[in-house]
Symmetry: C2
């Protein structure tokens, strides 16, 4: 996985740039084998293999499932703020995770911007008060099915 | 960390036994540097160092925080069922995680059995129906303070 950090030449795709950022700053994403498939302001899709995330039932460990969902939502806020040219620190405040089905193989986390009004309000509040909160929804996928859902509250603080 | 899996001679302490189980079956616990400090039917305490769990703010990554809390709660159910001599598969169904303060260093997760009546009901239901659900609460600690709280619903299924 480290190979992806060092072997690609710039200019990097947005996906590769985000992947490098995650791998360099959050070492657990290297251990988990996290890959960034899509990283646009409207949609983030991450992928991870089963092997480093396996548990004693030969399915994905709940901690890995929750971590990948969290990363997808954090990344969407990160990419969206960068797209809006806003410098801010993003921290997670609270999350709810529902594990709907066991995950027997490589899995993905998808976070999409479904409420553009809420996003615009988030940006305006952040601009005005230097601090704003937004709720993001994500889900995990396995073999084309939704297998877990995530809701997280993130706070952005202007630097 | 692998050293702890291979160098200790039996009979192992309950803590070492659980730690070996986690390290052998959930490789992410090795990557996270998870140690089992206490593993009794009434209290589980896990510890993890900052370095492998760090994020881009030099604090603990939310995914690691949530994973350690989940492990502490899962372990308490696991140890409790073993103590009651019940063979069952334990899966997490849902969890809520509140990140109350940033965590700037090595951290711990503590899960205690606070409602013995609920636990006895859980055991009886599991015995009668072969399936039962229980809600567990845990918190993360850093420098003697509570810095995050976790609530998780676990389902046990008799083998």
């Amino acid at each position: 996985m480290n190979a992806s950090v060092v072997t690609h030449s710039s200019p990097a795709s947005p996906e590769l740039e985000v992947e490098q950022y995650l791998h360099q700053h959050i070492p657990l994403t290297v251990a988990m084998g996290v890959r960034v498939k899509i990283a646009t302001p409207g949609r983030v899709e991450l992928a991870a293999p089963l092997a480093p995330n396996i548990n004693h039932h030969a399915t994905v460990f709940g901690g890995s499932a929750s971590a990948l969902a969290t990363l997808s939502a954090w990344t969407l806020v990160h990419v969206g703020l960068r797209h809006a040219e806003v410098e801010a620190v993003i921290v997670i405040q609270r999350n709810v995770m529902s594990y709907e089905e066991p995950i027997y193989g490589d899995f993905s986390a998808v976070c999409t911007l479904i409420d553009d009004t809420a996003w615009q309000r988030f940006l305006k509040t952040l601009e005005r008060r230097g601090r704003a909160r937004i709720t993001m929804n994500a889900h995990l996928g396995f073999e084309g099915r939704q297998v877990a859902s995530f809701e997280g509250d993130f706070v952005a603080l202007k630097g």
